[in-house]
Symmetry: C2
Subunit: 225 residues, 2 copies
DNA sequence: GATGGCAAAAGTGTTGACAGTTTAAGGCGC
DNA sequence: GCGCCTTAAACTGTCAACACTTTTGCCATC
């Protein structure tokens, strides 16, 4: 964790990512390469590379000569993400049920129990809300699914949670559902694990859909008649 | 289709992508930025941007000061891609069953019938093997799933098909299975469409798994005792 | 007062040169 | 002859300047 990163582009990426998360760069706002290069006191090349990586993560949109903008994150976007999560995380749970070792599952369950009881973890970790989901994605043994979930989707979920409507609460039910999923892993039932995970995410998706301002009009045309 | 593209980086991206597909850049081979910039007769900046985009698509691997390499595409990688496809395309089929219009489904079925009979399409199109899959991904109405399948995974499938083992044949069965999926769309049965799509891809995954050189050892530990 | 074109300003795309790191070659000792 | 260290070559990372495009503000015109 030294202040001396490996490459300036990496440092720029993390800085800009943090700016988006903190709101220093507002949600629909413009991402100015030269302004950022002055702020970060580096050349425009690394900034440009970082913005391109952010575009790869779909955190900013960018077209040839137009200015780059931070993503807007409409409810519609969130619904799409949740639908993809339902599919990918369901498969991750299915794979994890046969791929994770007994020790890994036991450790995950113990960790979960501690968190549930409000205790700090055995190693003073950061108790992320997505903890169970991350562990299962990693435990799937499928690096592409893990990358999709952990590197591409969870960033957007965190952003939405922090800077928009805080993603329907559901604390209690979610814990119960997590527990059932972990049990399915423990008894090595892939179909059950997938089914439970899909139901878990599907319920959240339904809540999101209920938040939709009715049916999104295809185009918002504000030109006065 | 003019030779004058919008931006040089875009041109570089397409050129390098074609080089990988044609084998001009071999599968595990090194991607040299200055050599490419000389070959394409452009500066190193656009080449660099293109390589980064290729890295985003996971077609090349790249670490800070190391040379970039074209991906290797092991059977293991293909199995991971197929597992993700099973999940994502299954969801795409489920969504398409409620989202596609009657006209879209009818057009897709007619197109499929023509191809099946060996006729050229009504508009002289390119009869891609992934045609049905692409149309369903687009018909899902979920831009993120469409992007994942059409922009990130199908490239790798085409590459593997052309430059490695030609992905288990199964021409006849695949056509039948496609037909059943289209029928499920037509009768508006989301669960059936998803189930059929998953079975369709799962069968191909099984064939791939059978190709695996037995079972991949978890770690290759060559330290002598 | 509103609308259209025109010009300056701001911003992105591209280039060539320089700095830092890795890789490869060469020489030295064993 | 083989292995290790030194050194040069090759390559990637970074920067500052230039070219092209878009945007913005202004002015004339309707």
């Amino acid at each position: 964790m030294s202040s001396e990163q490996q490459t300036l582009a990496e440092k720029a990426f993390e800085s800009i990512y943090a700016m988006i998360m903190s709101g220093a760069l507002p949600l629909g706002g413009i991402v100015n390469e030269v302004a950022l290069s002055h702020t970060l006191e580096i050349g425009r090349g690394p900034v440009r590379e970082a913005v391109q990586r952010l575009q790869g993560l779909r955190l900013v949109t960018r077209e040839p000569y137009m200015r780059a903008r931070v993503v807007s994150l409409s409810v519609r976007d969130m619904v799409e993400i949740f639908q993809l999560r339902e599919a990918a995380e369901g498969m991750a749970a299915r794979l994890a049920a046969t791929h994770m070792s007994d020790a890994e599952i036991a450790a995950l369950i113990e960790r979960f129990e501690r968190r549930r009881a409000g205790l700090p973890g055995p190693d003073g970790e950061t108790p992320d809300v997505f903890d169970v989901h991350v562990r299962i994605a990693e435990g799937s043994g499928n690096s592409r699914i893990r990358h999709l979930l952990c590197e591409e989707l969870y960033h957007l979920l965190r952003l939405y949670r922090r800077r928009s409507g805080a993603l329907p609460g559901r604390r209690g039910e979610a814990l119960d559902e997590h527990w059932q999923i972990l049990r399915a892993l423990q008894i090595r039932d892939p179909a059950l694990a997938e089914s439970l995970m899909r139901s878990h995410i599907s319920r959240a998706t339904e809540l999101l859909l209920a938040t939709l301002p009715d049916q999104a009009p295809r185009r918002a045309d504000n030109t006065a008649a």
